[in-house]
Amino acid sequence: MDLHDNIITNTKDVFSSMLGMEVTPQEPVAAGMTHLKSISGIIGLAGSVKGMLAVHAPEKTALAITSGFLGMAVEEINEDVQDAIGELANMLAGGVKLTLTENSSEIKLSVPSVIFGDTYNVSAPAKAMAFIIPFTIEGGLFYVEFHLIKEGLGK
């Protein structure tokens, strides 16, 4: 299974098992997009594979995701939303790690970092293989971004 398929499968799995939501993947787009009034959860990968996985959600989608996780309506961007988007990124990064290695000591995951704001960009390192997969759910659109720097890749 390649990384695109893995991320799509993991994302569907997380949403169906923990949020009871269906997600529909769209065609991947190039990294470097501008995020407007959004919130992003970011997990760094270190060790034999370096890179990062991020979940970018416009505020409306982030509220729908958090409401699904908590089983209650969440109507403003608060600590619960930041935590939920960070945890979503964490679960997706865990799935990617399982695909990339059978030995956990080879790849370390960071704890989630969360950023949000009116306008921001996330840049990929020059040597990274980088892509973004958009997904739609009932509450809107969100994006999963992945950067991978591995010996022999991206040179």
Partner: protein, 123 residues
């Protein structure tokens, strides 16, 4: 007597999801206490007795591996069963936490049925 369960996870969202899953799995009456990392869990266990611990691995301050190591050296709490709930369900991590005394591992994401299947034999 209702069971008392300690949930250790740095994500408040995940602590709420685990709590809800326990209720959905049929343990509506269990009492839940929470800690956001291994150190907070050890502090809490110094004054509170629980029947079961559900712990994340990847946490800031003190992670789940170090928590298991320190717990194993504390006679008062070393026999409390621990189940790891983690995204880090890679084979060697599952083996490592078993060696450190964990009774099992549940991979995130999970369903209430998976919680029930893993925890059932412990109740």
């Amino acid at each position: 007597m209702p069971k008392k369960i300690l949930i250790v996870d740095d994500s408040s969202t995940m602590r709420k999801i685990v709590t809800r899953s326990l209720r959905q799995a049929g343990w509506e009456d269990c009492e839940i206490v929470e800690a956001s990392d291994g150190q907070e869990a050890l502090n809490l266990l110094a004054t509170t007795s629980v029947d079961l611990i559900l712990s994340d691995i990847n946490m800031p301050n003190m992670d789940g591996i170090e928590f298991l190591r320190q717990k194993a050296n504390l006679p008062a709490i070393k026999d409390i069963p621990v189940i790891m709930i983690t995204t880090e369900a890679v084979a060697d991590t599952v083996e490592k936490v078993k060696e450190l005394g964990a009774k099992g591992s549940i991979k995130k994401p999970f369903t209430p049925d998976q919680i029930k299947e893993t925890l059932g034999p412990l109740f």
